[in-house]
């Protein structure tokens, strides 16, 4: 049976036909191309490379990017809905799209020169070039400001040294957007290509989460980066955080997709599973769980939709995005846990996807600013008092 989505509050009426069509196409695409193969990839710990040309075919990559550079030029709600549907498939796949579109193409289009845009963006839309975003380091996660990666100007080129950790698409990427401190301490963005002497991309293995996504460690040992590969307008940590805003916005939508997949599975299972001679969906404790799920999904949708409308009006703030990321991922995770419970022993099987979503969401809870870091961001905003240090 085709997936129908969850729309308890008739929010479809608040979307345009184009937005619903984009969602419908991606939904159909995920049903056909992703769901049949994703469990195998999760189990094997591999990223489904075969999907790349297919994603490019319908222009999933860089859907938020100007049509001039080959993007789909979608508005923020349509872009959000793509993330939602991709994450209904798998958080790892949505991560791939987020990194490619929001964390590499978006910074190039925002901070790059015309020549850089013309060179990189069409290649990334077509999937010919895969990108990754290197901010986190082994000793600097929540506190990227302290990063040790360093870019020394030798008069002609930058010489990069440092280590980046937990980098999505780390080993499959052709180009890495690396954040490093210049001699004067300003954090800047550099495009480092695969094969660049001194640049190593090592796979991080043995994860129990985001197994269908590639995660890597990037080591830079005296890597020479010419000025043509510097994003000149990206200056300071706030440029990096601005990129993260784009991705976090997509994550807030993505979490809805994972939550819907879990709710849908749990609801159908509960209606069919008979214990004590009745479908378990008829028991109050199960209903309470299902009602929590559909209520929270509806609230997540409201939050995401309002963020999307604000974003298109140029009014969405970082701290509002923090609320969206934090709230939606938190509840998606709770929903995945409850769905896992409702499925009983079946809940641990690959066949039923809820455990896969549950494991995946543990990463989503941590990356792009942990749940608690977003709490501190919102807390600082409303009290005027920073609780970070």
């Amino acid at each position: 049976m085709d997936f129908e989505g969850v729309d308890f509050l008739n929010l479809d009426d608040a979307m345009t036909l184009e937005e619903r069509m984009v969602r419908g196409e991606v939904r159909r695409w995920v049903d056909k191309e992703v769901l049949p193969i994703i469990a195998q990839h999760f189990e094997a710990g591999t990223f489904p490379m075969d999907l790349l040309p297919k994603m490019a075919d319908i222009n999933l990559l860089g859907a938020n990017i100007d049509v001039f550079y080959g993007g789909a030029g979608l508005n923020s709600v349509a872009y959000g809905l793509i993330n939602q549907e991709m994450e209904r498939g798998d958080s790892g796949l949505r991560s791939f799209v987020s990194v490619q579109s929001a964390l590499v193409m978006w910074p190039i289009s925002e901070y790059g020169s015309d020549a850089q845009k013309a060179y990189w963006l069409p290649r990334m839309v077509s999937g010919e070039t895969i990108g990754c975003f290197g901010l986190t380091e082994p000793d600097f996660g929540s506190n990227p400001k302290g990063m040790l990666s360093h870019a020394h100007w030798n008069g002609t080129d930058y010489i990069l040294n440092g280590t980046k950790m937990w980098i999505t698409n780390g080993t499959i990427s052709d180009v890495a957007l690396i954040w490093a401190k210049e001699d004067e301490g300003i954090i800047s963005a550099f495009l480092v290509e695969q094969g660049n002497p001194g640049f190593m991309q090592n796979k991080i293995k043995d994860k129990f989460s985001l197994r269908a996504s590639d995660t890597g460690e990037l080591v830079l040992a005296d890597v020479r980066v010419p000025v043509t590969h510097v994003l000149a307008k990206a200056k300071g940590l706030k440029a990096a955080l601005h990129c993260l805003d784009q991705a976090r916005y997509g994550i807030a939508w993505g979490a809805i997709g994972a939550a819907m997949a879990c709710y849908d599975t749990a609801l159908n299972y509960a209606k069919q599973r008979i214990q004590f001679d009745r479908p378990i969906a008829g028991y109050q404790l199960i209903q309470e769980k299902l009602v929590y799920m559909v209520t929270e999904i509806s609230k997540m949708q409201l939050l995401a939709l309002q963020m999307g409308r604000l974003k298109d009006q140029g009014k969405l703030t970082s701290v509002q995005i923090s609320m969206g990321k934090q709230n939606n991922v938190y509840h998606a995770l709770q929903i995945a846990r409850l769905a896992r419970d409702i499925l009983g022993a079946n809940g641990i099987m690959y066949e039923h996807q809820v455990a896969r979503h549950l494991c995946n969401l543990e990463s989503v809870y941590t990356y792009e600013g942990t749940h608690d870091i977003h709490t501190l961001i919102i807390g600082e905003k409303i009290t005027g008092l920073s609780a970070f240090t």
Binding site: D2, E4, L17, E18, E25, I58, A72, L74
Partner: protein
């Protein structure tokens, strides 16, 4: 090469259908709608022919309420060049004959070499409109095709249709009408930029008067079929499971077939 594809907006495949309270229609509350899947094969084939020939225009045509715009826009997003939306309150109670009549008049206004229909619409499953249009327009038709080839000059076409135990291969002059069956092709996805561009493609709206038809020509009185009642099929009783050793179970099955089901 000018190609028309007649499409219908139907409730999505996974919808749970129940009769409306008046028993004359289905209950349409909360239904989501899609382009009839058989019509999608027609759209895809039209796009493929246009690509193959290297020139031409694909026009999608549909009769329906304001909501039908969504189905037409979906086809434009996939790649059709323009759409014609025929809407008129007088058409609400029509049958397949009325639909065919209106479409045949609309199709005559264009200069189409090929006209595609779905083999049937998955809502009422009549499988009649395409063939009726062929009759009304005096055009040859091939129904339920699963393969289509244009000959080199584009003046005739060869289409395959599945018949009982064999495949029938039909060559026909053009213009002609074809109704599309599964296996004809694999409908493509709309590209995301395609969806955004669909709004800029031309969509013509015609009422009955634009087609020089009247409400009397097309109302309930003119229809050849009157719906008396729509009911759900009776709920099937649970089957019987025969347990035990195979030889005994077979004997029991034969006994039940004879004594209870009375099949022999």
């Amino acid at each position: 090469m000018n190609i028309a594809v007649c499409i219908k907006q139907v409730p999505a495949t996974e919808s749970k259908i129940k009769p409306a309270e008046d028993g004359l229609d289905i209950d349409r509350t909360g239904l989501s709608y899609v382009v009839n899947p058989y019509d999608e094969f027609g759209v895809e084939e039209a796009l493929k022919i246009k690509e193959q020939v290297g020139e031409g225009k694909v026009t999608v045509i549909s009769i329906g309420s304001d909501k039908t715009v969504e189905a037409l826009r979906t086809c434009l997003a996939v790649g059709a060049d323009e759409a014609i939306h025929i809407k008129d309150d007088a058409l609400a109670k029509g049958d397949t004959y009325i639909t065919a009549l209106v479409l045949s008049v609309a199709l005559k206004k264009g200069d189409y070499d090929i006209i595609f229909f779905g083999r049937q619409a998955i809502d009422d499953d009549s499988g009649a409109v395409g063939i009726q249009v062929a009759e009304l327009m005096g055009l040859p038709h091939v129904a339920g095709i699963n393969k289509f080839d244009l000959n080199a000059e584009g003046r005739t076409a060869i289409a395959n249709r599945q018949i009982e135990g064999a495949s029938e291969i039909v060559e026909t002059s053009l213009p002609a009408i074809f109704t599309c069956q599964k296996e004809l092709n694999e409908p493509r996805y709309a590209s995301l930029p395609g969806i955004m561009k669909a709004r800029q493609k031309p969509m013509t709206v015609w009422s009955l008067s634009d087609l020089e038809l009247t409400a009397e020509d097309c109302g309930a009185e003119a229809a050849k079929v009157a719906i008396e009642k729509i009911t759900s099929p009776p709920v099937r009783e649970a089957g019987k499971k025969i347990e035990g050793d195979v030889p005994q179970a077979v004997a029991e099955l034969v006994r039940l077939l004879r004594e209870e089901a009375k099949v022999f």
